[in-house]
Amino acid sequence: MRTRAWARTASALALALLATACSGGGGDDRPVDHGTEFEAGTLRVLASSELADMGPILDEAAKATGITVRPTYAGTLDAVERIASGEADKAYDAVWLSSNDYLRLRPDTAKKITNETPVMTSPVALGVRPATVARLGWDPAKVTWSQLHRAVADGKLTYGMTDPKRSNSGFSALVSVASGLSGAQSALTEQDVTRATPRLKEFFTGQKLTSGSSGWLATAYARRTDVDALVNYESVLLSAPGKLTVIRPSDGVVTADYPLTLLTSARPEAKEAAGRLTTWLRTPDAQRRITETTLRRPVVAGVRPASALARDPRRELPFPGSRAVADGLLDAYDNTLRRPSRTVYVLDTSGSMGGERLERLKSALAELTGDFRDREEVTLMPFGSSVKQDEVRTHTVDPASPKVALDAIRADARKLSASGGTAIYSSLQEAYAFLGRAPDDTFTSVVLMTDGENTDGDPAAAFDTFYRSLPAEQQRTPVFPILFGDSDRGELDHLASLTGGKLFDATRGSLDGAFEEIRGYQ
């Protein structure tokens, strides 16, 4: 069970890489991949996505040092995987992640990095709506993880958090809350995690939003009036549009220290350029600009943190020192602690999918089965001119024998055949009807894969009316459309924004990659 988490993530990430290496912009919020050939005076940096807010500072850095940073944004784990596989060596000179703690758990990456230079810090905290803080009668400076747990268990607090397997803020939060609730006095052990499991389970019943990226999390949160809080970096929470009260739990936090790190493989000119850049970033003036602009904390003595940043100190919770503990925690989160997912895969198997497209779909689904979590309910809903009712199958991954469901899903996928027209919107309505009123203890979502435009059943407008007539709880089920073949970007984009989902592009990357990326949101 324990090794499964990493094996799955590793293979899945390898696929995601292929998707992202080729995809660029469009409907998904991933910026164009800059990692290409080295160019004098520029530094190609694989960076955490929240570093986009460093833009103005890096412009100043370019003026002062002549070094232009060309960032490519990626999730922490994705980046770690690219470094370990050697993929990063080919396209980048440096990596700039929120933290290298994750990276250090992989001994195979030690030789690949050099010059780790922390530039600024930001703790992972909770941003809570001020009305909620008032309702709970909390003094934000004194709230502990136990109080947060109590509030959730009593049904008084809900929150959104990124997927710990994909994002450092989610993983840091998981480490913090596991430390807080287990009463661990030093670095977490497997026994601590086991001891805290019942309370952690209760704590994660309050997680109403999950996300593969912190950017989408903030957008999704803004749509939802029933979610009280957001887990993210202090700097991100303080910069969020709606005012949030930042709670750094008084019994401890995990802090990101943003080390600008060279790849050992970078050429000497790039290393020299990075040296000049980090020297500049560590000057008191640059540090002042960083804290004022991005609300992160300076790492140079004598530079005062921006006034919005609370000064009372916090205990720093140790990050797990071994991969076994980290993997165990991630595995526990996926298979035991978090609310399970219920997902309907609405799959276009119309006539136009025949041949190579259908084969790609089948192999992508087969790959995907390696990534389903224990307790997860998966429904394959193939459609042509209408939903192919006799092919609709639902399987739930039983923790006692996960293989049974996974084999069954693979077998169902193999049997798919192409025929008929394309009834996108009628089929989606059936998916919503199937999921019904979402019970409170699951994350529900719909994945729509289609290779063409709607030809049968209800038109788009009818779906809009249908969706708006759904009860509020059902409207919280997002649709994640995948752009594939000849499908219409505009229509799918509309579906994503109507339902609070997100569009994934498989026309420039791979279908496997798109399916895998969506996992972070399910």
């Binding site: 600024m120 003595a301 919770l317 020192g321």
Partner: protein
């Protein structure tokens, strides 16, 4: 699938074309610009250094002083023990933070260069290991007999015996007198160090601790390592993930995050003082038994040797080394004179500080591996 492979192929072809163009460009420069350089004879040397020396080499005045002597120095940082893992081709010197990794690196380089004898290592400067503490933490240590503080409360002595006894007993901050009201001081009392397998300061911390724990004996064999292994393991395991260089934990400390007790080089603190930076609530604790870290330059080429020589002997560069908080080898007067205004923080003469001898690098490495659970557990 097809598309993906095609795109990759196109990129690969583009890469080759660009590489050829770049090579052509370099060749053109060599051919056309070659004669311009003959007059100045600037030596460009490249080296791998410990992270605590990065700011020294990046200092514009150091760059200028080196240029005046005909040197352009390019550096990149690495944990001292990690240096061994790296290919050393193309570098002129390695500059780890202590003798142990330097010896290993020299042996490795010597083996690679076969018949040609390599020049001797040079030790231009050293720096003792100290513990930085936030003032509240230092006061509580003093109140519980784990440290003594000077009159200003900004420097003092860490009593290693008492500290190790506390570590052995898994003492928490909450159990110490005077910690009530300091919610940030909770959990097991420990000093943050770097990863002893990767980095010199972390390994030297274990050397000092084992020396104290074994009654003032230097570990010389496996039996000695085994005697102190449970304690050293405790000192390391409690920390969870460890950094591989001493710069990062110090920066976390300065940023007000991280553990309240961090093992650093005295030079890291002294350079801040000498730069006139406000020190906030920082307190410097000199362990009563510590290790002086001999920053050791291992030359890999003749130019590397010349650089080491220059750092050791050039008065201007020695002065600049002091400004970055290092103590030059030889006369102590350069350091004491420069830091005269900062005796509230610095123990200039290391009064009351005993030097623990360091075990051989083989023994030290074994200690580190066992402490991190990476060695054999026999």
């Amino acid at each position: 699938m097809g598309f993906r492979e095609h795109a990759a192929r196109v990129r690969r072809i583009l890469g080759i074309v660009l590489a050829v163009l770049l090579l052509g460009g370099v060749a053109a420069v060599l051919v056309t610009g070659g004669d311009k350089d003959t007059g100045t004879a600037t030596k460009t040397v490249r080296g791998v250094i410990g992270s605590e020396k990065a700011e020294f080499f990046a200092d514009p005045q150091v760059v200028k002083a080196l240029a005046a002597k005909g040197f352009t120095v390019g550096t990149e940082t690495s944990g001292s023990w990690d240096m061994e893992e790296r290919p050393l081709d193309g570098y002129d010197f390695v500059f780890p933070s202590s003798k142990g990794p330097a010896d290993e690196l020299r042996a490795k380089a010597q083996a690679a260069s076969k018949d040609k004898a390599l020049p001797a290592p040079l030790r231009p400067f050293y720096s003792p290991l100290v513990v930085v503490a936030h003032s509240a933490a230092a006061q509580i240590l003093a109140g519980n007999g784990l440290a003594t503080l000077g009159p200003r409360g900004t420097s003092g002595t860490l009593k290693m015996d008492a500290y190790l006894a506390a570590a052995r007993a898994d003492r928490t901050w909450q159990q110490l007198k005077g910690s009530a009201g300091h919610t940030e001081l909770s959990g097991t009392l420990f000093i943050t160090s770097t990863d002893p397998v990767a980095s010199s300061s972390g390994a030297l911390y274990l050397a000092a601790a084992s020396y104290v724990a074994d009654g003032g004996r230097v570990a010389g064999d496996k039996a000695a390592v085994t005697r102190t292994a449970p304690l050293l393991r405790k000192l390391v395991q409690v920390q969870g993930a460890q950094q591989s260089g001493s710069d990062a934990p110090f920066r976390d400390f300065v940023s007000g995050v991280g553990n309240p007790l961090v093992l650093v080089y005295e030079s890291q603190v002294a350079s801040q003082l000498l730069a006139g930076r406000p020190m906030g609530d920082l307190v410097v604790l000199y362990p009563d038994t510590t290790v002086n870290s001999d920053h050791t330059l291992v030359p890999l080429t003749e130019n590397g040797r010349a650089l080491g020589e220059l750092l050791s002997t050039d008065p201007e560069l020695r002065k600049l080394a002091v400004r970055h908080g290092f103590r030059p080898q030889g006369a102590a007067s350069e350091f004491t004179a420069a830091t005269d205004g900062h005796t509230a923080y610095l123990n200039q003469t290391l009064t009351g500080v005993r030097q623990a001898p360091v075990p051989t690098s083989k023994v030290l490495h074994e200690m580190a591996l066992r402490a991190r659970d990476q060695g054999d557990t026999a």
